[in-house]
Amino acid sequence: MSAIPVIVGYGLREALRRRVFAVVLLLTIVFLVLFWVANHYVHRELGTLQVPSDVPVDARTFASAFLSGLALFATMFLGVVLAVFLTLGAVRGDVERGLLQPLVVRPIGRSTFLIARFLGAFAVTAPYVIAVDLAAVVITGLTMNWWPDQIVTPPLEVAAAVGVVTALSLLGSVFLSSTANGIAIFMLFGAGLVAGLLGTIGHAIGSTAIKHASTVAAYLTPFEGLYQDALRQLTVSTSGLTGFLLQLGPFGGAYVHGWGVRLWALGFFVLVGAAALAGFRRRDL
């Protein structure tokens, strides 16, 4: 286990030297600037918006929560992209390039190597996701004068969701080439998001079948369940017509939420990790 910091450091230095962090930092700044511009214009438009007095909707809360949901989605997407690109070739990709063999013949153990690769990626993506989401919350808070009902929980849940995707990417890297693994993980990620939107539609039209299918999909892709729960936390105390309308939108509440999905996500993560470790231990390199 003493090799873990060495491999984590190796992974981080590789990302640093390959200017991965420089690119991510630059694009993140661009994203946050654009997000601030969006907040600024929405705030300006809200000043001229006249909501009929008989419609009990808090337009500022609705618009701000919508923007925060959008930021949460963007943050998760960026975090997933970063996690996948840091891990998609961790095993088979590096074996094909001849990078892995000199490392794993050292007396470090394959499990140690894989755990270190996960920790290396997660040590980057989790703080990144949390920092970017909190920055977005601050931008919306200062511009729109609105703060989410829960500030800390949503970024933590999204960070956990990115951790689940990272584990899936490492599992995929044991069996698939880099390209195939990247495609597989992004398709799975996309499928999870579609299932989430489907659930929202099912919720809006009251379709039990769609809601059921979406619930099953959310449990099969628990990163989506965590994301849905994080969205819900943004407006968990918002009620009335505003809350109802938010529930109907794409960045609204969750039909799958609470400790059930959180614990399942943890169990899923453990299962995926165990499968990755077992697969790597048995794999001929």
């Binding site: 090799a3 230095r13 001849g98 000199p102 007396p107 470090i108 153990g109 001929d284």
Partner: protein, 337 residues
């Protein structure tokens, strides 16, 4: 004399056993485990992390392979190979492409799991922690991160192997492979030959007692090959065992104590290069002609005497033996893939 002392699971700074030891014992121990220091009271102190498992008087082979088999689906890569690399021995592994050489080396260093049979490194199961601590490996197809310098790469491998050699070890290794001047050069700026030599230096990090080299000279020019040959001779002098997988028969013939020829996953010939070579006759140069007559070295006086008796003037006599290339081609039957 069988001493029967077992060293097992040694850890840094721990006194292993306390018994008066004679000089011969110390010498034997130093040969087996160079990282022990004899204390005044006769105990041994382990001065660096090096988990050895050996019994003095019955030192296991550096690499012992018994009935080793490997199948990749329907393809049989190895079909019951027996092979020993003894302490300080340099063994060349020959064979056409697809003969199973790389598979054998990969099993020995724990990258590939055997389908059947057993491979042991200094008595420890191949792939286990003690086995991997005792070996160095250079893969046939390897790549190092291009952004790393030679020094950084060796430092990384020192950390992973638990080597306490520090900067001194890195400097020595870079000198050994003639890369001292390239210490701060990035791998991506090095030629293939330099990278190959850096690969050998990397394999030597942690002073392994068994070195597994898979085609170490494939990308080297003649000067680079000579550097590696000199290096291998130096390693033999230091008592390091080497299994050298190579297509370059001349290199193998020059440096190896023994050669093992694989074909279709089986050993088809093995022995010292000189033992494998066969007499191919006597070349006799006279005033009449140059001809080859049947016979061995022992027949030379008789053949010369007969020629002189027949009125010929003898200008030269040469005993012809087969080269390793002849032996190899005979063993593999001209097969390639």
């Amino acid at each position: 004399m069988r001493l029967g002392v077992v060293i097992r699971g040694a850890v840094d700074g721990r006194t292993l056993f306390r018994r008066p030891l004679c000089v011969q014992r110390l010498a034997a121990l130093e040969r087996v485990e160079a990282r022990l220091r004899l204390l005044r009271d006769g105990a041994f102190l382990v001065t660096s992390r090096h988990e050895a498992e050996c019994t003095l008087g019955a030192v296991p082979a550096a690499l012992a392979v018994r009935g080793l088999a490997k199948r990749y689906g329907s393809i049989e890569a190895l079909g019951g190979v027996d092979l020993d690399v003894k302490e300080g021995e340099l063994v060349g592994l020959l064979g056409p492409n697809g003969a199973g050489k790389s598979t054998l080396v990969k099993i020995a260093c724990g990258l590939v799991r055997p389908s059947a049979g057993d491979a042991r490194v200094w008595g420890a199961r191949a792939g286990s922690g003690p086995a991997r601590r005792a070996l160095g490996y250079l893969a046939e197809l390897f790549r190092f991160p291009g952004w790393m310098t030679a020094d950084e790469l060796l430092l990384l491998h020192q950390r992973l192997s638990g080597s306490a050699g520090g900067e001194r070890e890195r400097t020595e290794l870079l000198e050994l492979v003639a890369l001292r001047e390239a210490r701060s050069r990035r791998v991506e700026t090095m030629s293939k030959g330099m990278q190959q030599r850096l690969g050998i230096a990397q394999a030597l990090v942690g002073t392994p007692r068994l070195l597994l080299l898979d085609e170490p000279t494939s990308a080297l020019d003649p000067v680079g090959r000579r550097t590696v040959r000199t290096l291998l001779e130096e390693l033999r002098r230091r008592g390091i065992s080497v299994l050298l997988n190579s297509h370059l028969l001349s290199e193998v013939e020059l440096v190896c104590d023994r050669v093992v020829i694989l074909l279709g996953g089986k050993v088809v010939a093995a022995g010292a290069p000189a033992d494998l070579a066969r007499a191919r006759g006597i070349e006799l140069e006279t005033d009449h002609a140059k001809r080859v007559v049947e016979g061995t070295r022992d027949d030379v006086p008789r053949i010369v005497a007969e020629a002189v008796a027949a009125g010929e003037q003898v200008y030269g006599v040469r005993v012809l033996t087969s080269t390793l290339e002849d032996v190899y081609l005979e063993a593999v039957g001209g097969e390639t893939s």
